[in-house]
């Protein structure tokens, strides 16, 4: 566990509760993230992952406990359908990151444009700068939103289920980008359904309306914690020796009709 007095902590909460209209959607959340750490935020749908993000973004005030942010957060939201037909290019979206760096009346100039192009280069999308956002693939859209966070120069990035809908090549690419962001000293919080993926990161936070566990994956991801997090959707795969492998059933992202 990180030293609690660390001055470079990016974000920390103690017994945080947050929610809507006075009712707590999450309770007892105590975690901290340092520069360079990747934190997997695990939990079922409705478990409070989005609520925690909104609290970190300052949209929800803590109902109880404390929340301290040393740096500004940037968010990489899921792409909603309405966003796809918005008349903006990849470069336009990246440039939105410059808003927070300028006084409200100042217009972004050449240096902001250069920053946005550099950020698109950093996510390997400089050649798609003029492409309409809605015409990019799901993986490219995630990377454009990450570029926007880079233009913001956010030290802490919140990624909301960024792997949803990506094919395996795009997912690998995004994983590598997350590793790069961490290597640059940024903190990255990734809401995900994939326990195996989170195992490879530095920290996990299990959330099911309250905090079920927080810490290094190998110490947190016990069967008990996973069961409390996902309330019984645990797959157990018996293997040779005394080890047991566990997995979480992937949730249904698609609502196609099952083949007859």
């Amino acid at each position: 566990m990180p030293d609690s007095g660390n001055p470079v902590t990016l974000a920390a909460t103690a017994d945080l509760a947050a929610g809507y209209a006075g009712a707590a959607a999450i309770e007892g959340v105590s975690f901290r993230i340092e520069p360079g750490q990747r934190l997997g935020l695990l939990g079922p749908n409705g478990g409070g992952k989005t609520t925690l993000f909104r609290a970190l973004l300052g949209e929800l005030r803590p109902l109880a406990g404390s929340l301290s942010l040393a740096v500004g957060c940037a968010t990489v939201p899921q792409t909603e359908r309405s966003r796809l037909d918005f008349p903006v290019t990849a470069l336009d979206v990246a440039r939105m990151g410059a808003l927070s760096r300028l006084a409200w009346w100042r217009r972004p100039g050449r240096s902001e444009r250069a920053r946005a192009i550099a950020a698109l280069e950093a996510v390997a999308l400089a050649d798609r700068a003029d492409a309409p956002f809605g015409e990019l693939s799901a993986g490219q859209r995630q990377r454009v939103l990450i570029a926007r966070a880079l233009v913001q120069d956010a030290r802490l990035l919140l990624l909301d289920e960024p792997f949803t809908g990506l094919d395996s090549a795009a997912a690998r690419r995004l994983e590598a980008l997350i590793d790069e962001l961490a290597a640059e000293g940024r903190g990255v919080i990734v809401a995900t359904h994939d326990v195996d993926q989170a195992r490879a990161w530095d920290l996990v936070l299990c959330l099911n309306r309250r905090q079920v566990g927080f810490g290094a994956p190998e110490s947190v991801l016990s069967r008990e914690v996973l069961e409390a997090t996902y309330a019984g959707h645990i797959v157990e795969i018996p293997v040779n020796g005394d080890r047991q492998a566990r997995g979480i059933l992937p949730p249904h992202h698609h609502h196609h009709e099952e083949g007859e």
Binding site: L57, A74, P238, A245, H254
Partner: protein
């Protein structure tokens, strides 16, 4: 013809509409992008009580309208902030309150019921200097606000959840937009009337949105359209002695329809070309056949498209609907697919639940193409969870039958090219037989007891059946990738893999391979060889063609079976 425009009252109307076009186009863009059409309509209508007050107390109508619009905007904004959801309901609520207040004022306080209706209709032909001044103020403010706040409005509209983190989170920014819309619609009220404000503020921007892909272009086009429709409408109304407001509204409606048609045509280059060439070409096409740009067919899956291409050769254009390496079970048609299907004469589908969306696609696109289901007359058809297992092409004998059917259909539809299709098919059939024999040789060299296939998508029943491979299990034990494995099934599969001594688990290229990896890790089997099940590989991969795909699969399977010692190459198909 233009003399009528020289009348002073018409010229004042012209100046007014040209000035109003600026805020209408600029703010209209945000109205359309931010979903404020109802608000912009309501704020004009809500000015009604202000107009009644002004009429009853004898002060300037725009002042009354402005006061009412201010009350309306403040009410909508503060209620909307208190309860974040259902902004339209709140707009409606405040609107009803304003209208009710207006009716009470009109009928009970000032007893002016007779001329209330006329307050809601303005006239471009009755413009005075005050109207022009108010419009100019609204236009100037709209320009300044667009320059200063436009990028904030854009960021908030694009991604409201991130607005705060982006530094565009201040509610004052949205209030400024609502207040400006209120001011501008009020200014337009005296010109075109409350009920037709929409014609100026919503319709031109909505039309421009259909034709542009970036906000600055959208705004310029919206301003230009509003100005053009306004001027044309005014001129037309003077010429035909019709009221200008409704004339402009009708014109902008027509402009929207035109924009829709133009967008439709722009997305179908062929349609546009035909339109441009005009009636002469159409007459020619009537005599000489309509296939002036050669035979053109549609194929659903990547495999079918490749096979059709092999038969068609240079004499056939094949439009493929599915992209390589995407899962056909999760396909949703794009607009270009719909237009391609609408234009084609023949559509080849693979059959079964892989592309069962084809018929709907054809009927939606209004296509009268003949639909050929290649799965109908196959020599080998396996049972699956649906009516049958749709992955028939993994048995080359099925591909041979499909090639014959494709050749016959193409030759019958395009008799001019029949000879070429027959020649192409003959050499391709030879390659298919070489492929079949080659794979049989490769797999035959592996001892039968080692031929145990575990893959993460049971698409390989035909391949296994043809070449004597024992399918031990699939990591996704279902016929479609939409199904999810159950805990029991996974545990059972892991047991079987260990018991049978399976050496390799084969993930499929288009399916996320984490499950296969997990099973492989837990059982000690290798998961390094991927198979192409549902789709061909991308352009530059060895599996970019049907022949390459089957060879790549045979190669991966032989390597997996032999622990990487041997592969499978079939030189005769190159």
């Amino acid at each position: 013809m233009l003399e009528s425009l020289q009348q002073p009252y018409v010229q004042r109307g012209l100046i007014e509409i040209l000035i109003l076009a600026v805020p209408a186009g600029l703010l209209g863009t945000w109205i359309v992008l931010r979903g404020l059409a109802f608000y912009s309509h309501a704020v004009g209508t809500a000015a009604f009580p202000g107009l009644v007050l002004a009429d009853g107390l004898g002060f300037a109508a725009p002042l009354g309208a402005l006061a009412a619009a201010t009350v309306f905007t403040a009410g909508t904004f503060s209620l909307g902030r208190a309860r974040r959801t259902g902004e339209d309901s709140i707009t409606a609520l405040v609107l009803v309150a304003c209208l009710a207040g207006g009716v009470i004022l009109a009928s009970d306080v000032f007893a002016s019921g007779a001329n209330v209706d006329t307050l809601l209709f303005g006239s471009l032909l009755l413009i005075d200097g005050g109207d022009i001044a108010l419009a100019a103020v609204a236009a100037a403010l709209a320009v300044v606000a667009t320059l200063v706040l436009g990028r904030h409005w854009l960021a908030r509209g694009f991604d409201p959840e991130s607005a705060k983190a982006l530094g565009a989170g201040s509610p004052a920014i949205d209030f400024a937009l609502l207040a400006l819309i209120a001011l501008a619609t009020t200014a337009a009220l005296t010109a075109v009337g409350a009920l037709l404000v929409t014609a100026l503020f919503v319709v031109p921007a909505a039309s421009a949105r259909l034709l542009t892909r970036r906000v600055p272009q959208l705004q310029l086009l919206a301003v230009a359209l509003a100005a053009l429709e306004g001027v044309l409408g005014l001129w037309l109304s003077v010429e035909t002695d019709a009221p200008p407001g409704p004339t402009i509204a009708t014109l902008s409606g027509a402009g929207f329809a035109l924009a829709l048609a133009l967008r439709w045509a722009l997305r179908r280059p062929r349609v546009l070309a035909v339109t441009a060439l005009g009636a002469a070409l159409l007459a020619l096409a009537g005599c000489g056949g309509s296939d002036d740009d050669g035979p053109r067919v549609v194929a659903t899956t990547t495999e079918v498209a490749d096979i059709v291409r092999a038969v068609g050769g240079k004499d056939l254009e094949v439009e493929r609907l599915l992209e390589p390496n995407t899962d056909p079970h999760e396909y949703e048609p794009r607009p270009s697919d719909v237009s391609a299907s609408a234009d084609a004469e023949l559509v080849f589908r693979s059959g079964g639940d892989l592309d069962d969306w084809t018929e709907e696609l054809l009927s939606d696109s209004g296509s009268d193409a003949a639909l050929i289901d290649l799965s109908e007359d196959l020599p080998v058809r396996l049972h699956g969870e649906g009516e049958f297992d749709p992955h028939w092409w993994h048995d080359p004998r099925n591909a041979i039958t499909a090639v014959e059917e494709i050749r016959n259909e193409l030759a019958a539809t395009y008799p001019d090219h029949a000879r070429q299709y027959t020649l192409n098919a003959r050499s391709y059939l030879r390659e298919l037989r070489e492929l079949d024999a080659g794979i049989e040789r490769c797999i035959g060299a592996v001892p039968a007891s080692d031929r145990k296939l575990v893959t993460d998508h049971d698409a390989f029943g035909y391949f296994a059946g043809r070449y004597g491979i024992d399918v031990i299990g699939a990591v996704i034990p279902s016929i479609t990738t939409q199904a999810q494995p159950s805990a029991g099934e996974l545990a059972e599969l892991a047991d079987v893999i260990r018991r049978e001594g399976v050496r390799a688990v084969f993930p499929e290229s288009s399916v996320n391979n984490r499950l296969a990896d997990a099973i492989a890790r837990d059982t000690g089997a290798s998961a390094e060889y991927t198979l192409y099940g549902d789709t061909l590989g991308p352009e530059d991969s060895p599996a970019a063609t049907y022949l390459g795909m089957e060879e790549a699969n045979a190669d991966a399977i032989v390597r997996g079976f032999t622990g990487g010692e041997r592969g499978c190459r079939i030189p005769a198909i190159r």
